[in-house]
């Protein structure tokens, strides 16, 4: 007799369901696993055998064959222990077939029969719901994560015994010991994660220009570069930025949560991701850590920053080869990792916020303090790869803080705007963009292509002339010109203006990325 239990596995950020089939028949006694398994799945044999024994089930001296299908997809991870055990239990008659018929079972087993948490629960449960399953049997530690998905019941198990003891009443286990597979009510779960205390723009010193640039970048999801001397508040500004981005909506939140689930970074959270991720890798980051990878691919920094901010501090210190890896994700909003046994695609739609010093000493163009030679400066900025720079819409210079600024920080003087009021404006601008790009697959101004630029960024006669003059005088490239149009669209949106006007263009021009056009 063949028994079947459904389980799930993760590939990239997507997941697929796996049928675990078990047959017990005569022959040389043993437990055999087939189905293109990686070594950690093959090791399930020992774990399952011992865990079953310790849970009080002795395997009969028969040949047990376990097959995981589809057989041509490589299966990885430790989540197959529990479904294999469950399928064997069903086959041996220790577990009701009905219990697991419409369920997806995942979990790792320890030798004493306890069920341990696994990575990537969220996408598996999502896939289960999509395929019409009604129940998910998951490790108890993964309960909260799995419980985030509506419309499917979650049964947490902490021990292998909990799976089958309910059906074993006659066999000596007392009624009072019986723990039914619990179905948790949704209301038990805490709905939102704790608010992380983000730094607020109110506390931030620095010039109006930087604040303004941050606001524009947040409103149009533009990539941003800050250049300035050390201690001019570049890092602080970046850290404040998640606070002015609009919160994630339901769908985005699921996407981001799925990435974190696959990356195994869910522990300790209770609820979907609500605030946008802020990922700030150190400049010594390896290419694999940035893009994702490893022999068993996992999402890298670009994917962990999905729908949030990827902050690269000291941009010039990053290795050129590492930075160049950003080109694909910046262009295609996703990253593909190819391995011999398959391709993995992770989402990577992030907002790049970068900070750099203008020269090795950091003080250029203040010639009183900067002692770097022309060559040093050129070489320093030359380290940033052109193609990456080409995709950055906004560039802002930060200034050294003056004493008056510091004093203002400690109270006294006028107060600055706080993050939430900036966020209100950002949200309004976002709403305008949503309206404009409805049904076009575009979310933000930063994503506008040529067609949209023509449609939504039409200029008046005199403004066109102004831009032509600017184009010639500032020696802009075609790409730079389009970037300026996109940014001015966002500036106009922030203001609520229907058309792009001279003042919007002027401001966008002042934020253009021209490191040094000499």
């Amino acid at each position: 007799m063949v028994s079947v239990v459904t389980s799930g596995a993760v590939c990239g950020i997507e997941s697929f369901l796996v049928q675990v089939e078990v047959d017990v028949s005569g022959g040389l006694p043993g437990l055999e696993l087939v189905g293109l398994l990686s070594s950690e799945v093959r090791e399930a044999r020992e774990r399952v055998r011992v865990a079953l024994k310790n849970a009080g089930v002795f395997l009969p001296p028969m040949r047990i064959t376990v097959s995981l299908s589809p057989a041509d997809v490589r299966k990885q991870g430790s989540a197959f222990d529990l479904p294999i055990a469950a399928a064997i239990l069903v086959n041996l008659g220790c577990l009701n077939k009905e219990e697991v018929q419409d369920a997806v079972v995942v979990g790792e087993l320890s030798l004493d029969g306890r069920v341990k948490p696994v990575r990537g629960i969220l996408p598996i449960v999502l896939e289960a719901r999509r395929q019409g399953k009604t129940k998910c049997i998951v490790p108890v530690e993964n309960e909260q994560e799995a419980g985030l998905i509506e419309g499917i019941s979650i049964c947490p198990v902490g021990h292998l015994k909990e799976l089958f003891c309910c059906t074993e009443e006659e066999d000596g286990i007392g009624q009072e010991d019986v723990v039914r597979i619990r179905k948790r009510e949704k209301s038990d779960l805490p709905q939102s994660c704790q608010k992380v205390q983000l730094p607020d723009f109110e506390e931030l010193g620095g010039s109006v220009r930087v604040r303004r640039a941050a606001e524009i970048a947040a409103a149009g999801f533009h990539h941003m570069l800050m250049i300035g001397p050390p201690g001019s508040g570049k890092t602080m500004t970046a850290k404040c930025m998640p606070g002015i981005l609009p919160p994630l909506d339901q769908e985005e939140s699921l996407e981001v949560s799925a990435v974190y689930s696959v990356a195994g970074l869910w522990q300790g959270r209770s609820g979907l991701m609500e605030s946008r991720p802020f990922v700030s890798p150190h400049h010594t980051i390896t290419p694999q850590a940035l893009t994702g990878g490893g022999s068993i691919p996992r999402p890298g920094a670009v994917s962990l920053a999905h729908r949030g901010i990827l902050f690269l501090d000291e941009l010039t210190e990053f290795k050129r080869s590492t930075l160049d890896l950003l080109r694909q994700p910046l262009e295609e909003k996703k990253i593909c990792i190819a391995r011999s046994y398959g391709n993995y695609t992770y989402p990577a739609e992030f907002m790049l916020v970068a900070a750099a010093n203008p020269c090795p000493c950091g003080y250029y163009p203040d010639l009183r303090r900067c002692r770097c030679t022309e060559n040093e400066i050129r070489r320093y900025l030359g380290r940033i790869s052109g193609p990456v720079l080409d995709r950055i819409d906004l560039c802002v210079e930060t200034n050294r803080l003056e004493f008056s600024e510091l004093k203002r920080k400690q109270g006294g003087g006028q107060t600055r705007e706080n993050s939430s009021s900036i966020r209100t404006r950002v949200m309004l601008a976002r709403r305008r963009q949503e309206e404009r790009f409805r049904d076009s697959g575009i979310l933000f101004n930063a994503q506008m292509g040529m067609k949209e630029l023509e449609r939504f960024c039409a200029l008046g006669e005199s403004d066109q002339q102004f831009m032509q003059q600017a184009f010639e005088r500032m020696a802009l490239s075609a790409r730079a010109y389009h970037r300026i149009l996109r940014v001015s669209r966002t500036i106009a949106d922030l203001e609520g203006a229907e058309r792009i006007e001279r003042r919007h263009l002027s401001e966008a021009l002042s934020f253009r990325t021209g490191m040094r056009e000499k």
Binding site: R209, L367, R368, E374, C395, M474, R503, S506
Partner: protein
């Protein structure tokens, strides 16, 4: 005579044997040809061991005719000090070069030359001044001589060539080597419209030690020396010292007391250098005057302001911002702060300032050096 040049060229080419040693050898032997024929023993009395080795090697392996032919094939001319074409002004300076190499045009005898030198890393003000003076000199028919270095040197020479003038680049490497590489375009223009000059054998690489001595040639060839910008400790002073030793007039372009880059010029002035005021007022410029000075680009600030008003561009904010700009670059932030500190109480929002500045920039009233650093066009 033709032969003598060949021998002189051969002698000049020997590595390790410099100006003074050549002088000694020639004095001892009588003429270049005899130097070539010197015996090992005789040469050994005058040369160090290493020099002697290199001398003997050259005696054995290089033929004077071939050496001379090689440089001629590169279209480089060699002028030893006994040549008639050897510049007269150089003949009388202390430690005159035994021979010089020229590429490009000959140095015209009747054109006066003025040295235009200064800091390699100059400020925007220095750039402007170098450009302006270079142009004015060209317009007055005076050649500009300098070292083709980064900064003031190169900018001044470029401006002179652009204005149709003549310029001499005195290099610290062979005349067939372009250093610094950024000045490639200037190098090419010098080759076609000006002169490249060096006392180093063609092919010599730019070594640090080569540069100070070439400064004596710069000052030696010029009638006046104009210093545009220099820090207190600057290589420019080597040229100035040489110029004073050679009896040339030194002019300094004044700057502000607070600018480190002008400190050297201020020091020069306090020590008695003349203030550079205009080309006409420089004493004894032997060049013939071209027509009256050109008007292009020589608009005074007052005129520029008038034009701005006439064009109807300037609203009051633009005019005010233009007034705040200087010939030293100011950042957008600085201008914004200056504007808002001016009369207390008033607060002009950043957006307006940006718009006004961009307007001024786009219509050409301001020039942008680094990003968002502006100065008035002079």
């Amino acid at each position: 005579m033709g032969e003598r040049i060949e021998y002189a060229c051969w002698l000049h080419h020997i590595p390790g044997i410099g100006n003074k040693t050549i002088q000694k050898l020639v004095e001892y032997a009588g003429e270049e040809k005899e130097v070539y024929e010197l015996s090992e023993k005789a040469a050994g009395q005058l040369l160090t061991k290493r020099q002697l080795q290199s001398f003997l090697l050259w005696q054995r392996t290089r033929e004077p005719g071939r050496v001379y032919e090689q440089i001629q094939r590169k279209r480089i001319r060699f002028l030893p000090c006994f040549s008639e074409q050897y510049p007269e002004q150089l003949r009388n300076i202390p430690d005159r070069p035994y021979g010089i190499y020229l590429a490009g045009k000959d140095i015209p005898k009747q054109t006066g030359l003025t040295a235009l030198i200064g800091a390699r890393r100059c400020s925007a003000y220095g750039e402007r001044m170098a450009e302006r003076i270079g142009r004015e000199l060209a317009e007055h028919g005076i050649g500009v001589i300098s070292g083709m270095a980064r900064g003031v040197d190169g900018i001044g020479q470029w401006a002179a060539i652009e204005a149709g003038g003549y310029t001499v680049s005195v290099l610290g490497c062979g005349v067939d080597v372009c250093y610094p590489p950024e000045n490639r375009r200037l190098y090419e223009r010098c080759l076609s419209e000006g002169t490249l000059l060096s006392e180093y054998v063609p092919g010599t690489q730019p070594e640090a030690g080569n540069f100070p001595p070439r400064n004596r040639i710069i000052s030696g060839l010029s009638a006046n020396v104009i210093v545009v910008e220099a820090r207190e400790k600057s290589g420019t002073f080597i040229t100035v010292d040489m110029a004073l030793e050679q009896g040339r007039e030194v002019y300094a372009v004044p700057g502000r007391l607070t600018d480190t880059l002008s400190a050297g010029c201020m020091r020069l002035i306090s020590q008695g250098a003349q203030i550079f005021w205009s080309v006409e007022e420089m004493s004894e410029c032997p060049g013939q005057k071209l027509k009256s000075e050109g008007t292009a680009g020589k608009e005074s600030w007052e005129d520029a302001e008038k034009r701005l008003l006439q064009n109807g561009l300037g609203d009051s904010l633009e005019r005010e911002l233009y007034g705040l700009c200087d010939c030293y670059p100011r950042s957008l932030m600085e201008l914004y702060e200056m504007l808002n500190q001016k009369e207390g109480g008033r607060k002009v929002p950043m957006e307006q300032v940006v718009q006004a500045i961009m307007n001024l920039n786009v219509c050409g009233m301001l020039t942008e050096t680094g990003k968002n650093y502006y100065y008035r066009r002079v």
